[in-house]
């Protein structure tokens, strides 16, 4: 059995990794680290999982833990991963990093939005873990830069249409809405119940760090220099992300053509559910707790724009679920291993 470690296990994405990996049929979770809770049993921090995991959180020390797992998931603030990934790779480990440290090919963009990159040589080696798009590269990757939640929800509907030349790449506007768990478990007034409940707002308008991440992937996929306008919003709910993207259609593009392209592009992909044929639109509640990305669209004929709508669970397909999906692909497991349970009706 493959042994896995979760470094940074007590944030929400880390805990969600622990949830999925504890129930995964092909791996054994052997290490969980937490700076804040070192020395404490994991199920004291997350008592919902009592009876399912008996590991104790330990301080992060790669020297001490590297031998005890074959693959490591890093769920840490950016900057720390690029300090420890070289060591792990050097020891022959595989790494799936949920931070931004290994998402960019162009380190100058990374530097502009984060800080100096200190492991530039590994960027070339790293694969952007948008599973459906980079499936083949992921198979043989040793380092995955796991995508941000917003980029996942924005890119999956846009890429097939851009690649097929069905929409005008200069007109893309992406208006995203995220549940509060996206802000993490660290205390902040912005996540304080009474400040969020009965509140809806935009934040980091046109300056969010996921904007250059989306731009880079879209540009890479099309060979063009694409810059989208990106505005994230906060929804008073725990989990879920809905992304509404707008673009001008190229001439004579019909709904049928869009539908066909989506269907053929995502043919056989187990976590993409295309709703057009059922004339339905995505709703975050229908993907809650799952690794699905539901995609729907509507054409506004009066303006010849397409409205693309996608829904994911920001902690699953937007983070930990996709990370495990990537592990499955890397290790040759069934892509859905550990990730398929019947979704809740409500």
């Amino acid at each position: 059995m493959i042994r896995v470690g979760v470094v940074g296990a007590t944030g929400y994405a880390g805990a969600e990794l622990v949830r999925i990996l504890s129930g995964h049929p092909k791996v054994k979770l052997t290490v969980v680290t937490s700076r804040q809770y070192a020395g404490i049993r994991f199920d004291k921090i997350f008592p919902s999982m009592a009876g399912h995991i008996d590991l104790v959180c330990e301080e992060l020390s790669v020297e001490r833990i590297f031998k005890r797992a074959d693959i490591f998931f890093l769920s840490l603030p950016h900057k720390i991963p690029m300090e420890i990934v070289p060591f792990l790779i050097n020891k022959g480990k595989k790494v799936i990093d949920l931070s931004a440290d290994f998402r960019f090919k162009n380190h100058t963009i990374y530097s502009a939005y984060y800080q100096q990159h200190t492991a530039k040589d590994l960027l070339e080696k790293a694969v952007y873990g948008l599973s459906e798009i980079y499936y083949d590269k992921i198979k043989s990757a040793d380092i995955i830069g796991n995508p941000g939640c917003y980029p996942t929800s924005a890119l999956l509907p846009l890429i097939p249409l851009l690649k097929a030349g069905l929409i005008d790449s200069k007109t893309i506007i992406t208006d995203s809405k995220s549940g509060v768990s996206g802000a993490g478990r660290s205390l902040a007034l912005a996540s304080h119940f009474c400040e969020v409940n009965e509140s809806f707002k935009a934040y980091k308008v046109a300056v969010h760090r996921h904007n250059p991440e989306i731009n880079e992937i879209l540009s890479h996929e099309t060979g063009k220099d694409i810059k989208i306008t990106f505005v994230p919003h906060l929804v008073p709910m725990t989990r879920g992300m809905l992304t509404t993207s707008y673009a001008k259609l190229k001439k004579n593009v019909t709904a049928e053509k869009i539908n066909e392209q989506m269907k053929s592009f995502y043919s056989g992909r187990p976590f993409i559910r295309l709703l057009y044929d059922n004339k339905m639109l995505p709703d975050t509640i229908r993907v809650r707790g799952t690794n699905y990305c539901d995609i729907g669209f509507v054409i506004d004929r009066q303006t010849n724009r397409i409205i693309l709508i996608s829904a994911i669970d920001n902690l699953v397909k937007g983070a930990s679920g996709q990370a495990v999906q990537n592990m499955n692909i890397m290790l040759g497991f069934d892509e859905t291993a550990g990730l398929i349970s019947v979704p809740y009706p409500i």
Copy 2:
């Protein structure tokens, strides 16, 4: 004292009218009608108001009620208002209609989205009750077509910029988000707690009836044929509406220029709060229960687009508060009478 009646008092907009009018210093609420609750005291239906109103709901019969009030607020499903407004106008009453029946100048647009209009001759007489924009006409109006909630939130930030030629009218996209009270008090699965809670979704994408309402006013204000793309979404909260609009800036338009135009356009308007100078963005929780429209904006220099954000309480500035604001203007009261109380911190 002016006597006022609320026709259709037991929906959410109607009850909000009752709330505001019961506390209004210049008017006396004398009539409340309700088909569903005729014969029952109003405060049995809305016990929060026990001690503040002792009226009994009665069946709607204009013949029976018209003598008992000088001005009528209609909070009814569309179609009924156009059947009873002619009678009320004929009797010399003033009418503020919260339905769509008197919002459109062009009855063919109304017919396309609602049904045949049966009181076309009154459309010319009716004034669109967007208080800040049509203030002068409202002063002398007898019929107000009170704006929809989405149009109110979308039009207030857009009109000043379009009139000053600062944005490109062909590029407007409006992505709106509304609390659930906007769907009314009628039972529906779409308002059932467990279907809405922890859910976020778009609905009536590019086919919502507020789209042509926005188009008509923008076109009328600019003399151009403007068609925007409009997508409403549902937020799991009771009250509040946030609208994010996108448009290309004309050449060389700076943030300062936008700010100056907003400030001069809304100078002295008591319910518009412009947030740019404070570098803040609107949040629905800050206008909850108030008649304010908070407006902020951000310029995305990488794409030369402006992002306009406005927040209102959909039941107050988006419906009943603006209706009372219009009454205040019509009757020569202070515009803020009955509408100013210090907002809650949370």
Copy 3:
């Protein structure tokens, strides 16, 4: 493979049965009925499950469906089950009924709170499906009267203490709090989002039908005539039930004694999690989506009362999960089959 049918599949408990049974390793779901949605694919009603079930809802007709399943779950309004269960039993089927029709041994109590019982002869045969308490009888039962959600959460902590004579049976007060899904999917003002959100209230105070159900079981278990005071409340959340029960301790009863009795009574029961040793108290969020009943307690020494607190998911251990647990016991499967997935951290 055992074939199972869900009669009344499109209410929340029914849909939750479909969810669990679709993922159950030992059974095949073959029939789903729905009066309201007959002829429509189940996953059109509950699109979250698209890709997991392809059955079409059909009208309820026992004659037509009985051959297609070996065991039937009934998730119907009371009264209908007692009309169809005799037929199903006669055909050799096993039945797990989620209504109140087969919960009472004493049909006069049933009649007093519901209506005349028309299948009295089957009451003797029926077993009350509180799995941990009636495990042995359930093994050989053909009809299960599946417990109500409130009784499940109230009885599990009370029974061990009453049976061991540790608390005074005349002093029991049970104050329960339920999420809104307990009120079902039928439209009602009491489940309308804006009426429930930001609201907390008691309802059916001391007249709820689950009160006599609790009384009967407690009386049966102790041989005394026990009547508790029972007050249910509604919490603005979708899933979850927390029950706080109060009772006078018998003389010299210590916390250790309570703890020992709980531990020995529930030794080996996979779905009971006793929290005392961890000095923790139950929280509904920790059992969300699971079949667990978490139990904690505190002793108030100043009044010599014990406060017992239990948390369940009202739709799982409080309804459909326990129903499947009962099926597992009846059919000799592992008691946890289909019911164990790692709980979410949030």
Copy 4:
């Protein structure tokens, strides 16, 4: 005009004081202090109130501020008030303290639950500010120990029945449920959105500091040594508190008798709404943002217990509203000044 200061203005209770006092017709708010936000305009911290208050927060220094107000509201952590109240009283100021420092007559109880009391001599002078009960003493008081939210909601329904000897004082159990704003604005995992949303739990079971506060007042009012069992719970909503109290009825006490006692006891009290005659029960949503305490009750004849239910807004009648009500009484204003606006329907 009377000048008032709010010391500790940027917690939730402090901000609510600012809201009410800014709109009060008889006083002028002249000082707001805040350790955390000294030097910043209050409406930058609470932008909802922009346009309603232009004060700047300042550091707490009684020497510097005492001359600028005639009456001070203290909304501070306990311990600080007892350090500064002696100074203020010495300078002839009136003080309304929202902490526990001046609530107890018996300083040994205070010490047992908080810390050594350092201003014991003032305890005799201080009046417990439960407005309806201590109205006459409040009139001439200089120091008010403003009640806790739980005690307010528990005491108001219990006192009339205990004083009339209608219930057995040894059998009282109080099960309370509070919205999250009761936990304040300080960051804590227990108030973090994702930990609270969709969660319901009990906390500080039988050890909450409001328990001795309730005990002391009940004992004082009856001349008996009363100890109740008290269990608080946390509800996933912002504002509101519902308290369910249980007690054995004395022999032959009828509902009519209870109702008469309540009515005569609270005759003329503007903020008590008795619901029995309307056969209604309290709901927190109906008192949201108001200073009302709604009281209802049900008699459980099978056990001869009464269930008393009261609803308040924890920040208004449970804190800042009652504080202003006390100021009104102290200064001879109309008791409702600044506190009556028509409640929202939802």
